[in-house]
């Protein structure tokens, strides 16, 4: 499989602070399943932000789908973003929209007809166990329920890359297992999955997953307990 994501000597600095990410280089194969680990403050969320195009790096090259996105004109970014699903750490559900409307957002952004939206949204609500909470506003949902809505919203558009920042942080073990199963199902359909997590037992549950570990903004040495470096980097 060819590389769908390539980072080359990427650095990220916020303002005049020292670099949050330094000399980060890796490539991810299309259709791979990747975990990103590291202590709090190691730069996991910053790296994911670069990946889902919420941020441009201070230096280095990032290629997504074979194109350099660092120098990409701003007006071309939406097309790339539609190919990436994101589960944010803080969910970022739109507070005044129902769970149904939140999940339907990517489809509406993509210009799908209203008549074609209902079935996949209902299916997704059922899948995350919220079939009867479609009209509930985020404020009336528990943290776990909100997280499930966020995940449903990220995957409903069948993105080519799914980026999830601590997606199982607020759900119980059973729901974590179900979400992981969904990610694996998407992965089998060809979606590249990148999950940032502290949950090491979760990582162990996914066969063939590869792990990257960040330490103080740099990719760390292998821990030995999981496969490292990513298989895609072996090929590069």
């Amino acid at each position: 499989m060819s590389a769908i994501v390539q980072f080359e000597n990427v650095g990220l600095r916020y303002g005049l602070d020292s670099e949050t990410l330094s000399d980060v280089s890796f490539s991810l194969a299309g259709g791979g399943f990747y975990f990103l680990t590291g202590a709090s403050g190691a730069g996991k969320t910053s790296l994911l932000k670069l990946l889902y195009l919420a941020q441009r790096p201070s230096r280095g090259v990032i290629r997504l789908f074979g194109e350099d996105v660092v120098t990409l004109p701003r007006k071309r970014l939406p097309g790339f973003r539609r190919r990436i699903g994101v589960v944010f750490q803080d969910f970022r559900l739109v507070p005044h929209l129902s769970a149904y409307d939140n999940i339907a957002l990517p489809l509406r952004v993509a210009g799908m007809e209203e008549s074609e939206i209902d079935a996949p949204v209902a299916e997704m609500l059922d899948w995350v166990g919220l079939g009867d909470r479609g009209q509930a506003r985020p404020a009336t949902l528990s943290g776990g329920e909100q997280q499930r809505v966020a995940i449903a919203r990220a995957v409903i558009g069948r993105p080519e890359i799914l980026v999830a920042d601590e997606p199982t942080g607020n759900v119980d073990a059973d729901m974590a297992r179900r979400l992981l199963t969904l990610f694996e199902a998407l992965n089998r359909l060809g979606t590249t999955i990148v999950v940032a997590t502290h949950d090491l037992p979760l990582i162990a549950q996914v066969r063939d997953a590869q792990m990257m570990k960040l330490d103080k903004g740099r990719l760390a040495d292998p821990t030995g307990t999981l496969r490292y470096p990513p298989r895609s980097q072996d090929r590069a």
Binding site: P78, G79, F80, R82, H96, R108
Partner: protein
């Protein structure tokens, strides 16, 4: 049918993206007030313009000849000679003596009964109507003709009397036009501020939409639609009230019976221009909202 339902559902979904419904918040009411004042100012400007045009049309072709002779018999004889000369002159459509009784009535408020006693030498007056065009040249020719008859004959074009008034009305008309321009600028500024405020308060939603692949134009449309609707309701309300007030003022003006005030009128063309103002307001608000939001979005990634 299905496509109509689809469009309706899509429109409802778009409305839900930005919280708050129509006529929520100060925007529609501010626009209503501004539209009310704009339409009133424009109506004043157009009405005054009509009055000036009407006054100029009425007065440009008219003049008065005064027979300034103290002796009543001589005055009457001279008036007859002048009248005959005027009626035979080129460029004169009509020349009629002003009835001395009418003249006395007009002077009575200032002179009292002395105006009709005959003791006071009141000049005889001849009302002259000229043929259209080149009024000043024709008045000059008549002045020359009358001077040949007697130095006691004086001709004055009516336009000269009312020139300062026409100037005042013209200045007021321009002032009204200036007020309309300022109101339009102020409306644009209010919309820009409201759009910025709305953009800032919905930043979270906008960020999410951006990261899902929404284009700037898609997001700007949400705001321009919302502000366009606010502007539509505000403009319609302001226009309706302004029309009501204009109607009431019109009734008051006609009740005065004054020819001058009665000339302050709005013709069909003026009403058409006034009707364009709320439409212009909606267009201006929509474009200002779009421009503001696109500018703000352009600063983000």
């Amino acid at each position: 049918m299905a496509s109509h339902a689809n469009r309706k559902a899509a429109s409802a979904a778009r409305h839900r993206l930005l919280p708050g419904g129509r006529l929520v918040g100060p925007m529609p009411w501010i626009i209503a007030i501004m539209m009310f004042l704009t339409v009133l100012s424009a109506a004043a400007g157009l009405g005054l313009g009509a009055a000036v045009r009407s006054m100029r049309a009425d007065l440009a072709g008219r003049a008065s000849v005064q027979v300034v002779e103290a002796d009543a018999a001589d005055r009457d004889r001279l008036a007859v000679r002048a009248l005959l000369a005027l009626r035979g002159a080129d460029g004169v459509r009509a020349a009629d003596p002003v009835d001395p009784a009418v003249l006395a009535d007009q002077l009575r408020p200032w002179l009292g009964d002395a105006a009709t006693s005959g003791d006071l030498p009141v000049p005889a007056l001849i009302d002259v109507m000229l043929t259209p065009g080149e009024a000043e040249v024709k008045v000059g020719r008549l002045r020359h003709l009358l001077a040949g008859l007697s130095p006691k004959l004086r001709i004055e074009p009516h336009a000269a009397f009312l020139l300062p008034l026409a100037g005042l009305l013209t200045a007021l008309g321009w002032l009204a036009a200036g007020v309309v321009a300022l109101m339009i600028l102020a409306t644009g500024a209010v919309v820009v501020l409201a759009s910025r405020g709305a953009h800032d308060s919905h930043r979270g939603t906008i960020d999410v939409l951006h990261l899902m692949g929404s284009t700037d134009v898609q997001i700007a449309r949400l705001f321009q639609r919302r502000i366009g609707l606010d502007a539509f309701f505000g403009s319609a309300l302001g226009f309706a009230f302004a029309v009501l007030v204009i109607g009431l003022i019109g009734l008051r003006l006609s009740a005065t019976g004054s020819a001058l005030l009665g000339a302050v009128d709005l013709d069909a063309y003026s009403w058409l221009l006034l009707l364009l103002l709320p439409m212009l307001g909606v267009l201006l608000a929509t474009l200002a909202a779009r421009w503001t939001v696109l500018r703000a979005l352009g600063r983000s990634l």
